[in-house]
């Protein structure tokens, strides 16, 4: 979801995978990403729409993803939960890293 958020209007399958790989430094399975996006979509946190046929991709359209208000809300809550739990632990987290 973070990747989708960051990419904004250019968020579609290929770019999302690329972004994840770049940010995390690990190779990412496109299949897993598709499934994750599908589940998010069913939970109402993300929505997708099929774009126009793209000439650069042999006429195949791109499916664009955007984060829904539900999703943003969930991200916010997760963020504050992380902050709350991680408070004061910076030293520990840093030293282990």
């Amino acid at each position: 979801m973070l990747a989708v958020l960051r990419l904004g209007p250019t968020a579609y399958g290929a770019t999302i995978v690329e972004e994840l790989e770049r940010r995390t430094g690990r190779s990412t399975s496109p299949g897993a990403v598709y499934v994750a996006l599908r589940r998010l979509e069913r939970k109402g946190m993300v929505s997708s729409r099929l774009g126009e046929p793209s000439p650069t991709r042999g006429g195949r359209p791109k499916r664009f993803f955007t984060v829904d208000p539900n999703g943003t809300e969930a991200l916010r809550r997760a963020r504050s939960a992380w902050d709350a739990m991680a408070e004061g632990l910076d030293a520990l987290l840093e030293s282990d890293g």
Binding site: Y12, G13, A14, V17, E18, S29, P30, G31, A32, Y34, V35, R38, R39, R42, L50, S54, T56, R57, G58, R60, P61, K62, R63
Partner: protein
């Protein structure tokens, strides 16, 4: 744009879900380019292939999960919907349970007897060898000791050949005699069947020659009962028929030749130099070499037939040609169950038809519901329900019904199978493999699946017709009244009637056969006759005279017992099977060099036998004890011998001999003619029978007679009540001799009819079920269709139609359908009943009287089923009718 591997792309095109195909393939294409520019073409191709294999799996997994959840939801909805209509559910489930239960039960019999593999390694290579001749009355003869060695040594097709047979014998166990069944087998049998003993060893080749050691191999059950599974039993001895035999081995619990239950095995000793050709008494079994077919083996052995005269005196070249001896090689399974094949598949077809009729009934019901729900479907479609969703909805309902019906059906099948077994299925060959097991349950599962698909498909097919807007607008009757719906219904009901006709015709044929069978005169009067068997061991009664003497003394004591009217003995009771087939020679009558004399059966008897069974003496006199002192023995012949051998003449006074006339064997004089009896079964002709006295003349060599005799005792009191006294008498004469198989002659006669009764019960039940279902179906459909025409009828009445006209209209519709069904059914019965030919007796499968009566009967019942809704229709109040919709 650099293109990814084409094959992988094709795979993706096929494997991806349609909704994601385009965008996912586009994404993967982009990523491929990116990987290629970073890591090179090879790495990119590998990456792409991995994705081609993995991504569809991911997506379908996700999809499946969703579908599963949706499915569960649909099932819940379907269940709720069904529960609101308990009547429909009850009728459907019960109907399905009965039909599927019957099918499962019969299939378990079919599977166990016909389809399950025999319990031997590579059992499909086991074959039996039989012999037939040009003269069909010889029948199919099993193996002969005289031919075994020739076949075994000179064949190219078999990995092994063996002979086996069985006989009853006395076993001395703890000084108490017990009757057991002893198998005789050439030592090769165990190799042919590829069976190893549990303990010890099997027979050596030497033990198969005359003079070989007296050894025995125990079957597992006998070892358990007698020796308590003592592991050191090898080397111990037992006394069988007065001979002490050493136990050399014990077989495992799984060793059982289907239909040949034996308690112990002794070696069949064949003297290769002295062989009796006439002794076709043992089952010949062989294991084909790998790659050899039955036909090749048959030709191989057939090629050996010309060598028979070199070895056996009786069959000269000329005789062989005249006989046209032919070898037959069949799979062992065929020999065991072959004759039953037609019957069992016929039964399967019968219950299959019942299931078909039941399904048609339910189909009509489902159609009615589907039409009632046309509106619901239209609304849902208009609101965006996809095809798969609708399919799922209807399938869920039919699946629930089918599973419930199938589940109950399996329970019913257990009960039904139990009933079948006690009704006589237990007597079937391989009955011990009959069970409701994996393969049978798989069959039930397939039935459930087919039923689900069939019923689920009906509403879909039906509703594809009407478009949503028209259905929403037009109200129920508009959708229902379409020609297609009525037509489909009519066809269904007509088919039901046709099928019911076929079943009922089958039942009627069975009824007539049984009636005919019951009228067959067995040749004797079975009432109040007790029978049992007494067998004397060779060691204690080594000569025929001593054995005959014992039997005579025992009979004298029996005849003196209170409650006994008359007692007699014979080597084999009527209706227990044919025995002693041998050619009959007549003195003074030379048969042409190649001709085969007529074959007759033979028995040894005491005079009391005929009186005990009330078999009439037609000519001449009975055998008497004084006959024993004559040079020539005296014989009686059955009436059939007269017509077979002495057509147009009086048989009395002729001299005859059984099997090859030989200067050492004497001739016997025919002194009397007695009535015919049926020996093998009630349906086969009475054979010619020679009756010898148990005390044959001095000049007559009959060493095989009289050791084991069946007794017949006509009593003035209930026969079984005398058994204890008789046993005591026997014991007082010789405690080592057991009395076996005590039963009423009435029971023997009844069991001769048993198989036909069983078939009648089964087919009759199927017929009744079919009739019931078809009539209910007809009634239901006519009622329903008439109810749908309420409005129309109302209008007609309002316009002046009389009640009679309305009734006529409804009846006409119903009877048209019925007549169409009857017509189709008659045609079907005409062609199909020939499969019953093996079951029936003295009725023609195409007997016109039967066909017509059944058709008329069914038509009459159908008329009744139509009359009731018609009468209701004629009483419709036009005002009410026009008001309803």
């Amino acid at each position: 744009m650099k293109t990814p591997p084409r094959l992988a792309t094709r795979l993706l095109t096929l494997a991806l879900p349609r909704s994601r195909r385009a965008d996912v393939m586009g994404d993967l294409g982009e990523m491929y380019e990116s990987v290629q520019s970073r890591r090179g073409k090879t790495a990119a191709s590998i990456w792409y292939w991995r994705q081609a294999l993995a991504v569809p799996v991911w997506l379908w997994w996700e999809e499946g999960g969703t579908m599963l959840m949706l499915g569960m939801q649909e099932i819940r909805i379907a269940a709720r919907s069904l529960l609101r209509r308990p009547g429909f559910v009850a009728v459907t489930v019960v109907t399905l349970a009965v039909a599927m239960g019957a099918n499962t039960a019969i299939y378990s019999v079919v599977h166990g007897v016909l389809l399950a593999a025999l319990p031997f390694p590579e059992a499909d290579r086991l074959v039996t060898i039989t012999h037939t001749t040009r003269d069909a009355s010889w029948g199919e003869m099993p193996g002969a000791t005289g031919l075994h060695e020739l076949y075994a040594k000179a064949n190219h097709s078999f990995a092994g050949l063996a002979l086996f047979g069985s006989r009853a014998a006395n076993l001395m166990a703890e000084n108490r005699p017990e009757r057991i069944s002893v198998g005789l087998a050439t030592p090769s049998l165990f190799r042919v069947l590829e069976q190893q003993p549990l303990l010890g060893r099997t027979f050596t080749e030497q033990e198969g020659w005359p003079g070989g050691a007296d050894v025995v191999i125990l079957a597992h059950a006998l070892w358990t009962d007698l020796f308590g599974r003592d592991p050191d039993v090898v080397g111990e001895s037992v006394r069988i028929d007065g001979r002490t035999r050493k136990i050399v081995g014990v077989m495992g619990p799984g060793f059982e030749i289907p239909n040949w239950h034996v308690d112990a095995w002794t070696p069949l000793q064949i003297d290769p130099h002295e062989a009796h050709f006439g002794g076709f008494n043992y089952q010949a079994i062989g294991r084909l070499r790998p790659g050899v077919t039955g036909e090749e083996a048959r030709q191989d052995l057939q090629g050996l037939v010309p060598r028979i005269p070199d070895r056996l005196a009786f069959f000269t070249q000329v005789r062989l040609e005249e006989m046209g001896l032919r070898i037959n090689v069949k799979p062992f399974l065929d020999t065991l169950v072959g004759p039953l094949r037609t019957t069992l598949w016929l039964l399967m077809a019968t219950v299959g038809i019942v299931l078909l009729i039941a399904c048609m009934n339910i189909a009509n019901l489902v159609l009615a519901r589907a039409e009632g729900r046309a509106r619901e479907v239209a609304v849902r479609t208009a609101l965006g329900a996809s095809r798969p969703q609708l399919v799922l909805r209807f399938m869920a309902e039919s699946a629930l019904l089918a599973v419930a019906g199938g589940g109950l059906g399996i329970l019913a099948a257990f009960a039904g199978l139990h009933g079948l077994l006690s009704l006589g299925a237990r007597a079937l060959p391989r009955a011990d493999t009959i069970a409701i097991n994996g393969p049978v349950l798989t069959f039930t599962g397939v039935m459930v699946l087919l039923v689900t698909l069939a019923f689920g498909a009906i509403p879909l097919a039906r509703l594809r017709g009407g478009t949503a807007p028209s259905v929403l607008r037009g109200g129920m009757s508009a959708a229902v009244g379409t020609r297609n719906a009525r037509g489909a219904r009519h066809v269904l009901v007509a088919s039901q009637v046709a099928l019911a006709l076929v079943l009922l015709t089958g039942s009627a044929l069975m009824v007539r056969s049984l009636r005919a069978l019951q009228h067959v005169d067995p040749g004797f009067v079975p009432a109040n006759v007790l029978t049992f068997r007494v067998s004397l061991p060779t060691s204690d009664y080594p000569t025929a005279a001593e054995a005959a003497d014992f039997h005579q003394r025992f009979l004298d004591r029996l005849n003196g017992m209170a409650g006994v009217e008359v007692a007699g003995a014979v080597t084999r009771m009527p209706l227990t099977g044919a025995s002693g087939f041998n050619p009959l020679s007549v003195e003074g009558r030379a048969y042409a060099a190649g001709a085969i004399p007529p074959m007759v059966e033979s028995r040894a008897v005491t005079p009391g036998f005929f009186r005990a069974l009330d078999i009439p003496l037609l000519e001449g006199r009975m055998l008497e004890r004084s006959d024993a002192d004559q040079r020539s023995g005296a014989v009686l012949v059955s009436q059939a011998v007269g017509s077979l051998v002495f057509p147009g003449e009086d048989p009395l006074g002729h001299l005859v001999a059984h099997s090859t006339p030989n200067p050492h064997d004497g001739w016997s004089r025919i002194v009397g003619v007695v009535g015919d009896v049926h020996t093998a079964s009630l349906t086969e002709e009475s054979p010619g029978i020679l009756y010898f006295a148990i005390h044959p003349g001095e000049g007559v060599q009959k060493a095989w007679l009289a050791r084991s005799m069946s007794y017949a005792v006509r009593t003035s009191v209930p026969p079984m009540s005398l058994v204890p006294a008789i046993k005591e008498t026997l014991r007082s004469m010789d405690p080592a001799v057991p009395l076996a198989e005590a039963r009423l002659l009435d029971d023997i006669t009844r069991s001769a009819q048993a198989q036909m009764r069983l078939m009648l019960a089964l087919i009759g039940t199927a017929g009744s079920l079919g009739l019931l279902l078809a009539i209910v179906g007809l009634y239901g459909v006519i009622s329903y269709l008439t109810a749908q025409r309420t409005r129309e009828i109302g209008v007609r009445v309002a316009l002046g139609a009389k009640g009679r006209a309305v009734r006529g209209m409804v009846i006409r519709e119903g009877m048209l359908v019925t007549v169409a069904g009857l017509g189709g059914g008659l045609v079907a019965a005409w062609f199909l009943t020939r499969f019953m030919a093996g079951l029936i007796f003295e009725v023609n499968t195409r007997d016109p009287v039967t066909l017509v009566s059944v058709a008329v009967g069914l038509g009459a019942v159908s008329l009744l089923a139509t009359w009731i809704p018609a009468a209701r229709a004629s009483r419709i109040d036009p005002v009410e009718a026009l008001r309803s919709d």
